[in-house]
């Protein structure tokens, strides 16, 4: 029997909880101990440590949270999840914050505009062909967003990967792509927080 919440407008905290898949300990039980901040391999380069982000979520700093690079620098390595003394699934919350950042459209203005687009480009191929396509990913992603990088990629590592036969030229496709598309479309339709 959860306590009856007085009928108040949903806070940013409620939004984050709704978007997370709800397994593991509750975000509000965080005791701000910093284990996650201390464990994170990309921690030093984050605007705020995960712990800092949780304090900001609780304080309702929606914009600062969804503008920060923290969710995008999470490499989902699960150090924080296995070590969190309150059993909070921090990585799932970071995924939720990425999705909320995209929904809120905050990601364009930040310097971290590489992350969301990389994911969207990657998924573009998957939704159309059923499988990922590194070459297409590398070219379209770099040409569209970072032309300078593209040259470096093509001559350096990209070339070597080609000669070693580790790059497809044509995008691999699954047979029953229509089945996948109808599944994904239905899923998008149902979308929303589950």
């Amino acid at each position: 029997m959860s306590e009856t919440l007085s009928a108040r407008a949903p806070t940013f905290y409620d939004e984050v909880v709704a978007e997370t898949n709800g397994l593991g300990g509750e975000l509000k039980t965080c005791i701000q101990c910093g284990t996650c901040g201390g464990s994170c391999p990309s921690g030093p380069d984050m605007d705020h440590t995960p712990r800092g982000i949780f304090a900001m979520i609780d304080a309702g700093h929606k914009e600062d949270v969804l503008k920060s690079n923290t969710p995008w620098y999470c490499v989902s390595c699960y150090y924080c999840v296995v070590r969190c003394p309150q059993d909070i699934h921090i990585t799932d919350i970071m995924y939720a914050l990425k999705r909320l950042a995209i929904k809120a459209g905050y990601y364009q203005e930040t310097a971290q505009d590489k992350a969301p687009e990389f994911s969207e480009t990657f998924i573009g191929f998957v939704e159309n062909n059923g499988r990922s396509f590194e070459l297409g990913l590398a070219t379209r992603y770099h040409l569209r967003y970072h032309p300078l990088d593209a040259f470096k990629m093509a001559t350096g590592m990209g070339l070597k990967m080609f000669t070693k036969g580790r790059m497809d030229i044509l995008p691999p496709k699954i047979k029953n792509i229509s089945q996948l598309k109808s599944i994904l479309n239905k899923a998008k339709e149902l979308g929303g927080a589950a």
Partner: protein
Amino acid sequence: MKFSYYPGCSLERNARSYHQSTMAIAEPLGLEFDEVEDWNCCGATEYFAINKIPAYALVSRNLALAAGQNGSRELVAPCSACYINLKKTDHALAESPELRSKIDQALEAGDLAYQPGSLNVQHLLETIVKEVGYEAVEEQVTKPLYNLRVAPYYGCMVPRPSAMESFDDPEHPMSMDKLFETLGAIVVDFPLKAQCCGGHMTQISEETALEMIRRLLKNADDYGADMIATVCPMCQLNMDAYQDAVNQHFGTDYNIPVVYFTQLIGLAFGISPKELGFGSELISADAALAKVTEEPPKEKRRRRVKKNAGLPMPVMPEEG
């Protein structure tokens, strides 16, 4: 032993050698893989960053196909990201009724269905270590990798499949270490063997990614590794293909080949390097492989224990 097999996109091209070597050692290990018919990409860490329900639906199609093929209940995934997505999705469907109902409807749109829990998702390392077992591997060893200093690198998702139970220690895994001991190699137990290689970070902030990769290379090098063995195409790509970028960026000169653990098993079984896909690694493994000798290294004369050997160490529960 029959297993359903989910190769994943990387094993089609980028990690071709991982697939080749897995197939090559399957027969001697008594493993029979039947590939999931028309499987699709697992979305890696990308789809969950964009849209939750379609991300779960994408993975669920694979689970439905695998279960539908009523082959073996055990679904083996060699790639860590595919392994964790399949396992995480099966777990989430079982735990969350709302998610379950949405995914059921989505699958229905493609007239598929999946009953959570009807598959036991395993990583390939887990299959070899737990299902086959060290003894069965040892029996097949014909050319032990004597004198080869191998650093087993587990990456992050195999030891720590989110909050789910891992088949090995989440902080200090040893299963691959023991596996290479049975292959006769000198195992380099380097402390960062379960720390993340950065995953797709190279595409987001190269600065951060190269630093994460540098740490692993430095640690393996400091502990005298001739070679790093991985269990995941992403880790192999980051440490192999970006080793050059690390050297340029930090002015280091690492030259450590990064191979798949299945390739080394194949070598120890006497299978030819070519057949195991050696040569596809950007940092060539030839020099390291040349170090393998016929006879085992001589037992170094045990130095007499010094008189005041200092203070005793606490004994670890299951030693060795």
